[in-house]
């Protein structure tokens, strides 16, 4: 790789920047306007969900977007605060039991910084494949459970009561305990906002279409629903002095661009936040990369997962340096960006300018914004994440996948996000290892009229008494080496006429050293019983490796290119079954 292409790999902006045209600019600008309208209430609301002051949400929506525009490979990913990562931030920082808001913000900033360093480091080390170890069912279960947790955690703002907890039982008990303190003004306002937002999602677009509004404009108007709700409820709170009637309002929000901050490097804080930062990094990356890949595929573009790690890592570092908290690529927001016609990451940079303008000029208007409105925005947004059909789907397809998704959901709801996702990962890997430790072994025979061999239990096939052909349906490695030994002995030990065993290795993709030792043991044991051991259809890479050991010299039988060749030779009358040549 030349120096120039190396640089280009780490700065994707050089590729798309060089061919930037006026029509691209116009498309990006339009998309940026729509995303900005959507992002202002979202960033305020997710900061609330993370337990942070609203301006932190705005700060996390400025520099991170610029960093992603420089380092990211997706053309349409919209980076910023998202629901699940905000919930994980609240869980991580909440357990530190910090007294002051300043310390709480400092911890959230440190979390973004640690996570950013981790992501960037993983990207430089090209560890993007690690994300593959989160199985789809685990992710789906985790997102669904997080959606339920988030919606439940916001109910307190709708009821106007205080409630705490990081698990579903804690949240529900706390909510019930405080229910007598309910504030009816808040409830009225919150439920009206929620109803309105649901209606803009479902009912507004068809209505606008019937009214003859052009589809493009209808789209923008629909996306502006949360902004309208924010404006209307803020006005109502101002007009009817709801703050004095017990409705929680946002209050003073600092005006201006984010302050440049240096994150805390206190070793105690870093070690306390290490695991949480790791989980946030992985979950954020997996979420983001799957959105980016889905959208890229629609336009026949490609993204580079390792460079995406760098893109998200630098975004989080940028967030930490400008008073923000952990960010990642948001699903709904990126889809909106894509639909609105964004062509390059410049759309993200223009969105950043939009949010910066909001931070400079709109914050005084947020004083009377009721927290219930933000909670309503969150609830409506996250309920679209909740999809319990994955449970039914997984149950029908495979009990193992079902176990993974059900455990992830149950533990996320019952014990919190960190335990839930960790258990899901460990369980996925554990179940996979368990399955491969007891491989499927099929005794095969010849399908008449072909050269093809299939399971004697499933197909009508030809066999012969002195020859046993076993197809091993798994790579042979330490976890199943002993199982194969047992299987072969059990099969041959009581069957007198057997003189030849063929292991059909078409599905054996690897034989590690442990398995090689087991094969040597099988060969020796069968030799003592006057049975020859053969192999058929051994793959190239496996054969290469076997040639490097002494196994082939010691093998009592032969290696056949195909199972048919093995059958042909071992059943031929020229080679009587009783003759042992080894």
């Amino acid at each position: 790789m030349t120096d120039r292409s190396k640089i280009a790999r780490y700065f994707p902006i050089l590729a798309w920047g060089r061919t930037y045209t006026r029509p691209t600019l116009e498309a990006d600008l339009l998309a940026a306007v729509i995303v900005t309208i959507m992002l202002i209430p979202q960033s305020l609301a997710y900061a609330l969900l993370a337990g942070l002051p609203p301006e932190v949400g705005l700060y996390a929506s400025i520099l991170p977007l610029v960093a992603y525009a420089i380092f990211g490979t997706s053309r349409v990913l919209a980076v910023g605060p998202v629901a699940v990562v905000s919930l994980m931030t609240a869980a991580a920082v909440g357990t530190l039991n910090l007294d002051s808001t300043t310390d709480y913000i400092a911890a959230a900033i440190a979390l973004a910084f640690i996570s950013g360093v981790m992501l960037t480091g993983m990207g430089l080390l090209r560890l993007g494949f690690l994300a593959n170890f989160l199985s789809h069912p685990v992710i789906a279960g985790f997102i669904t459970a997080s959606g339920i947790l988030i919606a439940t955690s916001q109910l307190k703002h709708i009821f106007g009561v205080s409630a705490h907890g990081h698990t579903l039982p804690e949240l529900l008990i706390s909510l019930l305990a405080h229910l007598p303190e309910i504030n009816l003004y808040t409830l009225l306002l919150g439920s009206t906002a929620m109803g309105f937002l649901f209606w803009t999602r479902k009912g507004l677009k068809p209505l606008l279409a019937r009214l003859g509004v052009p589809p493009r404009l209808a789209d923008v108007l629909t996306k502006a629903g949360p902004v309208a709700a924010v404006a209307a409820t803020t006005l109502a709170a101002y007009a009817f002095d709801l703050g004095d009637k017990g409705v929680a309002i946002v209050g003073e929000v600092p005006t201006g661009l984010p302050p440049l901050t240096l994150p805390s490097f206190a070793p105690g804080l870093w070690s306390d936040l290490f695991l949480a930062a790791m989980l946030i990094s992985i979950i954020g990356f997996v979420e983001s990369v799957s959105v980016a890949q889905t959208l890229a595929a629609k336009r026949r573009q490609r993204i580079d997962p390792d460079q995406e790690l760098i893109g998200l890592g630098t975004s989080n570092i940028a967030s930490a340096l400008s008073g923000g908290y952990p960010v990642t690529g948001g699903f709904a927001r990126s889809v909106v960006n894509f639909d609105a016609g964004a062509q390059t990451p410049a759309a993200g940079a223009f969105t950043a300018i939009g949010i910066a303008l909001a931070a400079m000029f709109l914050t005084p208007l947020l004083f009377f914004l009721p927290k219930a409105t933000l909670a309503a925005t969150i609830i409506v947004a996250v309920l679209s994440l909740v999809d319990l059909s994955i449970l039914r789907h997984a149950w029908r397809y495979s009990r193992v996948d079902f176990a993974a998704v059900a455990t992830t959901i149950a533990l996320t709801l019952g014990l919190g996000v960190e335990v839930g996702v960790s258990a899901g990962v460990v369980l996925s890997i554990g179940l996979h290892l368990y399955k491969t430790s007891r491989p499927h072994v099929a005794e095969v025979g010849l399908v008449p009229g072909t050269q093809h061999f299939r399971n004697i239990l499933r197909h009508t096939v030809k066999t012969t008494p002195h020859l046993v052909s076993l197809r091993i349906d798994e790579s042979l490695y330490f976890a199943n080496a002993r199982y194969l030994e047992d299987y072969v002995y059990d099969r041959v030990v009581c069957d007198q006429p057997i003189t030849d065993v063929v292991l059909m290795a078409s599905a054996v993709n690897e034989i590690d050293l442990s398995a090689l030792e087991s094969l040597e043991a099988i060969n020796t044991r069968l030799k003592e019983m006057n049975i020859r051991l053969h192999f058929s259809e051994v793959k190239g890479p496996v054969m290469d490796r076997l040639k490097r050991s002494h196994f082939l010299e010691e093998l009592s039988g032969d290696i056949f290119l195909s199972q048919y060749e093995a059958w042909d030779r071992l059943t031929a009358p020229t080679e009587p079954p009783s003759k042992i040549t080894a």
Copy 2:
């Protein structure tokens, strides 16, 4: 299963006890005498290695043997204190920084009890397969490194200095620092004992043969070498008053049968010892079960790994209840038992009687026994465990296996037994997952004159431009689902004439839900490109599962029984390549 056979499964003694005959009794008694002679010095020495008073070694060689005789399934396994588990006990209890010997013994007893409960529990839950996750290279590396650590740790007794540490650098530095305090009497005695013991291993048997001693008797005399060394050096220490000249001697050893003890149930102690007990359980089980399997195979007997867990678990509980420390099946001792002709576990019970007699009558004679002699016994015994050839062997066969064994050895020596073996296990599993996350995919063509398909890069095969056949050499699951997506897109995206892709699934042993979603994505994407997706040689269990999803209805192509059938139909002139029916 009937009640009776259930009981018989958990009490193997009922099976062999029913057919016990006089010749069996005689064979067992002879084996017991030989093993007892071997076990007396070993149990004293391994107690010293574990940092425990010598009588604890004797206690651990009485009741545990009786428990194993009742619950174990191996006919010849000799249970008791062994070198590696003694080292692990020293490491585990040593880190607790206990002041008094009483506390140290109590912790070792608790360790045996916890480990016994774990093993028994795993046996009742039939979790014996878990032992398979320790790969052979990791075990070999761990045993070799432990042997080096043990031998080094005993050098202080040969030099007559005090030295401490649980890792090789610690031990060597501590030894060098204390070397000026060397006691020449101890060194003379220890090195003489070591020389004598090496000679009895290598030189004594040929000599006896030349002198016309019957082989059986020569065998017993060779095994009695350590007893002779103990007797001779004890006499020397008594006669020349070596104790007063700075030679460390064993001193007062309590006489009598082991006291019945109740292990400590202090929660703090249990949580401190939990991980160590787990590692000791697993290492002890793996060691023991592989010895038992090797020996059982020689006599065409079988052992039941799950019942072995119960056998070892009850042995450890018995050890804890009688003042002993963790035990397992010893390799050398079991081979001696086997060679001496032991027929049933009754030989173990008779050995227990022999050790009990020793505890009652021989302990006063041990007062002058020099510790250097015991150290010499240990060094000579463990050096046979050290086998660095595994490194060369693994390197030649596979870099991945080499990485596992080299890391295990390096970390065991450098950071201690617990880190070493844990890292080995994690690394084995991690490397396996990494390999399967990037499966080998081969583009295949027809071997002329056959119905067999092989890699186009390795064999001379027939292909056709519009048809790509990809053989996937791995089960499809969450860790490699995305890799396959990328591979297929990369292959077809720039190759215009392609109209049909066949995924040859002969090596695909499983398709989990994550992989199913990837296949759905591939199918959709290829359909958009006017390319049909087919499968061939899908296995029975995989097909069963696919039928439970909607995938087969949506699939743009067909499922063929064999790759040849796919080739035959898709290259037939009746089905022109341009006709897309989906």
